[in-house]
């Protein structure tokens, strides 16, 4: 863990008079799970957008594996090996898990047929099944439309899709917000499995117990800047809430 896989230094962005990010720093190491927490409006979503090329910055620098990078579109972020799983998951409800997983990146058939737009359904299906199995496989019906599946299964499809394309970093935006107990546990298990593959995970969540359960470090945002970074193993829910609301202010920054 010598070099951060992704590092942000002094990111700033204003929308008119509103300063969404103020000299915000962020860093994450390979194979690490970093939770990003903060109250509503603290700048979590803005930061994620800035990291993934969805938002132009007023100032600040991004480093990917130590190299200065300028990410100006989500495609560039994807090319670096980063994927975001948005809260709305961005899945097509009428398509099945395999079709969703490969949407926009279908494997063509070999030869002329492939050039005509025919797809290698068999290999896509096999790859999708491998991907779901890696995450603990709660998605089983490969032919059913996603729309008929549970929230947890949909989440897993979205995560599987992200990690099948991102080999460096996956950002999960509130992955457990709408899930029940069992499904939440599945998603948290999935995060551990992603981590075990050596992929770094940024987890945005409001749920402090979940954050402490899966994260290695917790970075707290308040008023558009990082107020503290805590080791999850040492932190308590009270500390996190304190940092979020400003009651503790920078006292916890020692960690």
């Amino acid at each position: 863990m010598t070099q951060p896989i992704l590092e942000a230094k002094g990111l700033s962005r204003s929308f008119g008079h509103v300063r969404a990010l103020t000299k915000c720093d962020f860093d994450i190491y390979p194979g690490e799970v970093v939770a990003l927490i903060g109250d509503n409006g603290a700048g979590k979503s803005t930061l994620v957008k800035a990291l993934t090329g969805n938002l132009a910055l007023d100032e600040g620098e991004l480093y990917f594996q130590g190299q200065r990078v300028y990410i100006s579109s989500p495609q560039e972020a994807s090319a670096l090996g980063m994927e975001v799983v948005y809260q709305d998951l961005a899945l097509a409800p009428h398509l099945n898990p395999v079709q969703n997983m490969f949407l926009g990146r279908e494997t063509p058939r070999k030869g002329v047929l492939g050039r005509l737009g025919f797809m290698d359904e068999k290999s896509m299906k096999e790859a999708a099944i491998r991907g779901f199995d890696e995450l603990g496989g709660t998605v089983r019906a490969m032919d059913a439309p996603i729309g008929s599946m549970s929230g947890g299964q949909r989440q897993q499809v979205a995560i599987a899709r992200a990690i099948s394309w991102a080999d460096k970093l996956v950002i999960l935006d509130e992955p457990t917000a709408a899930l029940g107990v069992v499904q939440t546990k599945n998603v948290l298990d999935s995060i551990q499995r992603v981590k075990a593959k050596g992929i770094a995970v940024i987890l945005i969540s409001h749920s402090m117990p979940h954050v402490l359960e899966v994260a290695d470090r917790v970075q707290v945002l308040r008023l558009g800047t990082r107020v503290t970074t805590l080791k999850a193993s040492d932190a308590t829910v009270e500390q996190l809430v304190g940092a979020m609301t400003g009651a503790l202010d920078k006292n916890g920054a020692a960690a």
Binding site: A90, L95, L103, R140, S148
Partner: protein
């Protein structure tokens, strides 16, 4: 006797394979349901009218009535799956047939050379109208209903301007002979041309990336955009396809009637939309099949032919088709609603099959 079916999650441990059969996927769709309705209608008329209904002549007639609409139906199926609509097809057909007839009149002659130039002209005309539709829908973000309502009016108006409202009859005999004299199994050749278009359309929709993106755009446009599908370009292509097929249908119509049909296509768009929707293509997008469209096309055609044969006023066809349309969409919606509630086996037909095991 009933068998209690365990919940889906428990029932299928690790059996990813072998559940992808075409039959099963079809069984999940409304098209199978509606195929049942069609078979009931056919059975009814067969019993009521016997040999007269089941004759080659009758089926030849039905197939011919369906042929032009079938070609239009392919384009419409793609359009509706993207949750769009194309009201302009009838007018584009008229405009293209006028252009083709005028061009062939200028070229002169009765051979295939003239006919091919005419077909080309019709295709280009259809492609142009479709591209205009697509561009206005995808780039100008005008609702497809409005866009195609506009081009419906403009295309028909221009066709009337060009001809002064009088049908052009200069169709080379090569074209009209094609439908009159070339027969397969006693049925004129036009329906077979339509069948080829249907098969190609089905393959493109169900087997290629183009088809996959069509479903994706209709299912969740934003999701498609985020994974890099070029949604705008795809929509333009879809409407262009629909327009081009209307151009092709124009040449079929010329071959069938030997004249343009300026006043005869005012309800074509609605009839085709009805057929597509009856066939289970969801007006909300994301769902549909060419197979369903074929079935949906035959229901009105069979009804009409049947009513004539058993001596019922053919006007009843409208009554019957309208009722089937509303019933079909109702069934479709309740299916959708129960799917949202999370039930896995919601197709009544499947449930029925399962229960009777």
């Amino acid at each position: 006797m009933s068998v209690i079916t365990p919940p889906e999650d428990v029932a299928v441990p690790d059996t990813h394979e072998g559940r992808d059969s075409v039959l099963k996927r079809l069984g999940n769709t409304q098209s199978v349901w509606i195929l049942g309705v069609l078979l009931v209608i056919v059975a009814f008329f067969s019993i009521a009218a016997g040999g007269k209904f089941l004759s080659t002549g009758n089926f030849s007639l039905i197939a011919q009535n369906v042929a032009v609409w079938a070609v239009l139906g392919v384009g419409m199926t793609f359009v509706i799956i993207t949750s769009g609509i194309d009201l302009s097809i009838g007018s584009v057909l008229v405009f293209s047939s006028v252009v083709a007839a005028k061009v062939m009149e200028q070229v002169g002659g009765d051979g295939w050379g003239t006919a091919l130039i005419g077909i080309l002209a019709a295709l280009i005309s259809g492609l142009a109208w479709g591209t205009i539709n697509g561009f206005l829908v995808a780039k100008a973000k005008i609702p497809p209903l409005i866009v195609t309502l506009g081009t419906l009016s403009v295309a028909l108006g221009l066709a009337q301007v060009i001809t002064g409202g009088i049908d052009v009859r200069s169709v080379p005999t090569a074209m009209t002979d094609f439908n009159t004299f070339i027969k397969v199994l006693g049925i004129p050749s036009l329906p077979f041309v339509a069948l080829i278009v249907l098969i190609i359309g089905g393959i493109v929709l169900h087997r290629t990336k183009f088809g996959r993106y069509t479903y994706a755009v209709g299912s969740n446009e934003e999701a498609a955009r985020r994974v890099g599908v070029r949604v705008d370009r795809h929509l333009i292509r879809i409407y262009a396809l629909s327009g081009t097929l209307a151009g092709f249908a124009a040449t079929m119509s010329l071959a069938q009637f030997g004249t343009t049909t300026i006043a005869g296509q005012s309800l074509t768009n609605l009839n085709v939309i009805a057929a597509v929707v009856i066939g289970g293509t969801s007006i909300f997008g994301g769902e549909g099949s060419i197979f369903g469209t074929i079935v949906g096309l035959f229901i009105p055609a069979v009804l009409q032919a049947g009513f004539v044969i058993i001596g019922v006023q053919p006007f009843w066809q409208g009554v019957a088709v309208g009722s089937v349309l509303v019933a079909a969409v109702y069934v479709d919606q309740s299916r959708r609603a129960s799917a949202l509630r999370g039930a896995s086996s919601t197709n009544p037909l499947r449930a029925l099959l399962r229960r009777s095991k």
